[in-house]
């Protein structure tokens, strides 16, 4: 395979020339090598221009060589594997990779939206707030236009074909970063017997050692790296995770990490997840996260061809790519010259060096002279020139008192180094503020008070690989307890004070945040408009709020704030970093918890019986419940109307196993029930049940259900399906914390018992046939009577109670016997034409009867609101008995349970509809109530609903309106009693 198209590929580097890789960018077929990133392969092919900017649609190129990249964002993949906003500088190249530039239309070179650049005076700081937030509601109108014009890449709407998983890792020492500090820290800890997890976001270990010239212990960086990695691979105590980013650092030393298992292959292996979210819990954490190089702020500093000097060194030494033919260095410190020397060693002579310092140290003059590179001491870059790519620079002498004279320099590449910024994102996430060190003109880590973690190497300010390696070793010794005192952060002796950052006079845009298109003048304007704190400036200008969280821009913003406000930089303050350090896929966060596995699915013990009976199921909370049992050609509506009618005219059976069930035992059980329910329990005899209502301490209804007295000291409580967990927790709280003197024990038996309700005029007959020999007469089992017996080895509990208003019985057995009970009842029901009904018919029956359920027990209703005020005992105290009488809870105009009938009986209502007076005035605001539960009533042959309506009981007989779709749907309804059928309850006693 030839490399003829890779016109800027040079010799050396770490790419694998034996493994050529073909990829596509904007449809063009290009070649690179294994070991390339997408960015290095694009540069090898002479492609700098990779995107358009967020707001102004200015052409943008590759700026960095790692995760700090603000510009080179691409759409990766296609169809259902399309990922937007992928950093080309961090994306490993693979065979068949497809990427597209984003945020341009119709093409990258000719972008119509670049017209935004001409109107840029309208797009300055705070423009979102000023222009579009007024009048109220305008934002909704403007937003979609803005999103199209100013935006990032587009995602896909197709389902994700890949899988993701969560795993948990444990380690004595977790080391984040595998540069010189990370490698030596990991080795030191492992050799002391600690279990070490070494986490590296790159696909290669080594960090800066992969490209930076330098020496450690007399060895060249590259050699030291090779040898150290060999030792690490031979060290069983070290587990290495590459392609893994520690994106979040949380309390108790937990690191959130994402491992990109298969983001470097075209077709993922379906048996392996695409990404793993790793929850790493470590005794101690070493943050060897390195430092980002800082750029200068000057005119047109966003042109393609302008990049960080460390990036240039990485492209040359690691990826064997020449960033440009004619390169100029712009710097104000030592490391710029180190890069110049490193490039010279590779035979790359810079066209010029511009140094903003005055004076420039003599050794740098010597270097430049010997290398034959023109040096411009005490000069600044005023602005860059070019269209789609850098063509030249305008530079000026700084501050010699003379009229500045523009000097033109021709070049195609500018590499810049304005200093370093330790990567303190993870530490900052723990709420530890970075501290400004004037001698370094840099922010260093804050103090870790609890000794749980430490920053090492360049993250602690150390400038050379050797310093970093030594510091990493010391930090590891300290954290494993081998050294008493914490190693110091970098503090240079007798370093000259850093030169102030140049502020060139230029009418061109000087970008601070390349990803969000925020300029120096935006920051200055923010300050003029009264914003002072960096946190406010950040939100007002959006600097640092893009996906890169301002990795290359934040420090320049703080610098500008200090200059403009004429304040010491240490007093300016900082912003706070938040997880994730680099963007995270939603898939990784969700892991396996998607679709049907979002929550556990609970099945009734009768589930197989329902399947055999042909039920259609519906999800209710965690439960899968039979929804209806379709007859031939029936949909849910036809089926539930038929099923409900069959119950009222004959007999039906429904699964009620999802109800919460609590076994209550102990000599104080009656006293306990008396305290938790609003009604009295002291007089309930053995063999009877009672409906109970419980309140919260604040006086609102918490839950309802029946409780059966099975023995002297033995009760069986049922709760609502959704309230089961909260009721159990509440009752245990009362017994364990508030009333430990009560001798009562609770056991959750929701899963131990399965039950059905047999309802309808012929229900007693079904029981008689199913349990021959058991007396089920009214005398033996009166209303709310309980029977407990053993039927041929089958344990049975029956209570005569009704949710539908018909004569009905709940029949329970041990869950393991559920199938037997089902068979027994269906067999016994045959002569009486026993039918099955599902949750939809159950709902219709209870709405007809006016029984409250979840939609009415919404946590905001009192017993009186629900028409159950009369249940509340006045002779005893119980949970909520005092606060239920608060002024606001006893007002007459509260929303009360009411029935609604649409005037046109064939007009369905919808739950959630708002209710308004029937006065013909255009509905506005929140109305006088809302519809809670709706159904078609098979009994009344019309639509009906329950509602919570202000003064609902007073309004019976009046006409009001139900409103939906923001007023587009208005239905006239008549208020009535919520007890639509049999208000006297005669059927119960049939």
């Amino acid at each position: 395979m030839s490399t003829d198209r890779q016109k800027l590929r040079i010799g050396g580097g770490l790419v694998d020339r034996g493994k050529p890789v073909t990829f596509r960018f904007d449809g063009r077929v290009l070649k690179g090598f294994a070991g390339d990133t997408l960015a290095s392969a694009l540069l090898a092919n002479g492609r700098h221009l990779v995107g358009r900017s967020f707001k102004y649609h200015r052409p943008r190129g590759i700026f960095a060589a790692g995760v700090e990249e603000p510009n080179a964002l691409v759409e990766l993949g296609a169809e259902d594997r399309l990922t937007p906003n992928v950093q080309a500088t961090a994306q490993e190249l693979y065979e068949g990779l497809q990427a597209k530039s984003q945020n341009r239309w119709p093409s990258l070179r000719f972008d119509l939206m670049a017209v935004n650049n001409l109107f840029s005076r309208f797009l300055t700081a705070g423009f979102y707030y000023k222009t579009f937030m007024w009048p109220a509601g305008a934002w909704e109108f403007y937003e979609k236009f803005i999103r199209r014009a100013a935006g990032m890449g587009k995602g896909t709407h197709l389902p994700d074909p890949d899988t993701y998983e969560h795993v948990h890792d444990h380690a004595d020492i977790a080391v984040v970063g595998s540069g010189p500090a990370g490698l030596s820290a990991a080795l030191t800890a492992a050799e002391a017997g600690k279990d070490v997890l070494l986490i590296e976001q790159d696909f290669e270990l080594g960090g800066t050692l992969l490209y930076e010239a330098g020496e450690i212990a007399g060895q060249a960086n590259a050699d030291w790296r090779r040898q150290t990695i060999a030792r690490i691979n031979g060290e069983p105590k070290i587990r290495v995770l590459t392609r893994t980013t520690a994106f979040g650092y949380y309390e108790n030393n937990i690191l959130g990490c994402v491992e990109r298992v298969q983001d470097h292959v075209l077709t993922p292996d379906p048996h392996v997840p695409r990404q793993r979210l790793r929850h790493v819990r470590a005794e101690k954490v070493i943050l060897a996260t390195g430092a980002f190089e800082r750029p200068f702020v000057f005119g047109n500093n966003d042109l393609p061809g302008i990049l960080l000097s460390s990036a240039a060194e990485a492209y040359v030494n690691r990826y064997a790519v020449l960033p440009g033919e004619k390169m100029v260095l712009y710097t104000n410190q030592e490391s710029g010259y180190r890069v110049a020397a490193s490039l010279l060693e590779r035979g790359i002579r810079l066209a010029a060096i511009i140094d903003a310092r005055s004076p420039v140290p003599t050794r740098h003059h010597h270097f430049a002279r010997e290398a034959g590179i023109p040096l411009y001491p005490a000069h600044e870059v005023a602005e860059a020139k070019g269209g789609l790519h850098l063509k030249g620079l305008v530079i000026r002498k700084i501050g010699d008192g003379l009229e500045p004279r523009d000097i033109r320099l021709d070049c195609d590449t500018l590499i810049q180094s304005a200093g370093w910024a330790p990567v303190l994102h993870l530490q900052s996430q723990r709420g530890i503020k970075p501290v400004y060190h004037a001698a370094l003109d840099s922010y260093l880590p804050g103090k870790c008070a609890d000794g749980q973690h430490a920053c090492a190497g360049a993250a602690a300010g150390y400038p050379t690989s050797e310093d970093a390696a030594v510091h990493g070793h010391k930090v590891a010794r300290y954290l494993i307890g081998a050294a008493k005192t914490a190693p110091r952060l970098y503090a240079p002796k007798d370093a000259p004070p850093p030169s102030p950052a140049p502020v060139p006079l230029t009418r061109a845009k000087c970008f601070v945040d390349l990803q969000h298109d925020v300029t120096r003048s935006d920051i200055e304007q923010g300050v003029r408009e009264g914003f002072r704190s960096p946190e406010h400036i950040k939100r007002y200008t959006t600097q640092g709020m893009a996906a890169d969280q301002g990795k290359t821009g934040n420090i320049n913003t703080l610098k500008i704030l200090s200059q403009v406000q004429d304040k010491e930089q240490s007093g300016v303050g900082t912003t706070t970093f938040r997880p994730p350090y680099t963007p995270l896929t939603i898939g990784a966060v969700a892991g396996r918890s998607i679709a049907g596995e979002l929550r556990p699915t609970r099945l009734s013990p009768f589930h197989d019986c329902h399947v055999r009976a042909g039920a259609e199921f519906i999800t209710a909370g965690d439960w899968l419940r039979p929804w209806y049992y379709p007859g031939p050609g029936e949909d849910v509506t036809a089926a539930y109307i038929r099923e409900a009618g069959e119950v009222r005219s004959g007999v039906g059976m429904v699964d009620v196993s999802t109800l919460g069930k609590i076994d209550i035992q102990g000599p104080d059980a009656a006293e306990f029930l008396n305290r938790v329910y609003v009604n009295g329990w002291k007089t309930l005899p053995v063999g009877k049940a009672r409906y109970g209502l419980m309140l919260r301490d604040d006086g609102m209804v918490m839950d309802d259900g029946t409780t059966w007295r099975l023995g002297e000291h033995h009760y069986f409580m049922t709760t609502t399906t959704t309230g089961a967990g909260a009721v159990m927790r509440h009752l245990e709280y009362l017994l364990q914390i508030d009333w430990p003197e009560l001798k009562v024990h609770l056991t959750s038996v929701s899963d131990e018992w399965g039950g059905v309700a047999i309802a309808g005029p012929r229900s007693r007959a079904v029981l008689g046939s199913s349990f021959p020999g058991v007396d089920v007469s009214t005398e033996a089992i009166p209303h709310m009577g309980v029977l407990e017996f053993d039927h041929e080895g089958l344990p049975v509990r029956i209570c005569r109670l009704s949710f539908s208003g018909e004569l009905a019985f709940e029949v329970y057995t041990r869950a393991g016997f559920a199938g037997n009970l089902w068979d027994l009842l269906t067999e016994g029901g045959k002569p009486h034409d026993l039918r099955l009904y599902g949750s939809e018919a159950l709902g219709a029956l209870r709405i007809e009867k006016g029984h409250v359920a979840g939609p009415e027990l919404d946590g905001r209703t009192t017993a009186d609101d629900l028409g159950l005020g009369g249940m509340q005992s006045t002779k005893k105290a119980y949970v909520g008995s005092v606060l239920k009488n608060r002024e606001g809870l006893i007002r007459n105009d509260r929303r009360q349970l009411a029935g609604l009938k649409p005037v046109e009986g064939d007009t369905p209502l919808k739950a959630g509809m708002l209710l308004f007076e029937g006065d013909g005035i255009t509905p506005k605001g929140h109305g006088i109530g809302h519809v809670t539960s709706v159904t078609y009533s098979p009994e009344l042959k019309r639509h009906i609903a329950l509602a919570l309506l202000a003064e609902g009981r007073e309004r019976v007989g009046t006409l009001i309106r139900a409103v939906d779709n923001g007023g587009a749907t208005v239905i006239d309804v008549k208020v009535c009693s919520p007890h639509f059928i049999d208000p006297e309850g005669e059927r119960l006693h049939a």
Binding site: Y250, E251, N252, I254, H279, D450, R675, D697, D698, G725, M728, R729, E732, Y733, Q736, I737, D738, P740, S748, A877, V882, L883, N885, R886
Partner: protein, 88 residues
């Protein structure tokens, strides 16, 4: 994520527990009828920057209510006991 050393079950992950609020409050006697007293009990909460006494329910474990001392700044848990043993 917290780990709570349940006296019955041992060291367990926070996901097994449900938070139960401030443990410095005491339920008024059942026959207390003054609304202000109940109002204080139900609504008034301290919000210390430092040690906080709180209840946690071992929902997916032994079902014990635990009384825990947690630092609201560092989340460090310095004491765990059965709520039962600590009540008067």
């Amino acid at each position: 994520m917290l780990r709570i050393d349940c006296p019955f079950c041992g060291l367990r992950d926070e996901t097994e527990f449900t938070y139960g609020g401030d443990a410095s409050r005491t339920r008024p006697p059942l026959d207390e009828t003054r609304a202000e007293v109940w109002n204080d009990y139900v609504y008034q909460r301290p919000n210390p920057k430092g040690l906080h006494s709180e209840y946690w329910f071992h929902q997916h474990g032994c079902r014990s209510w635990l009384k825990i001392t947690r630092d609201m700044v560092s989340h460090e848990i310095t004491a765990v006991a059965y709520a039962k043993d600590t009540g008067e």
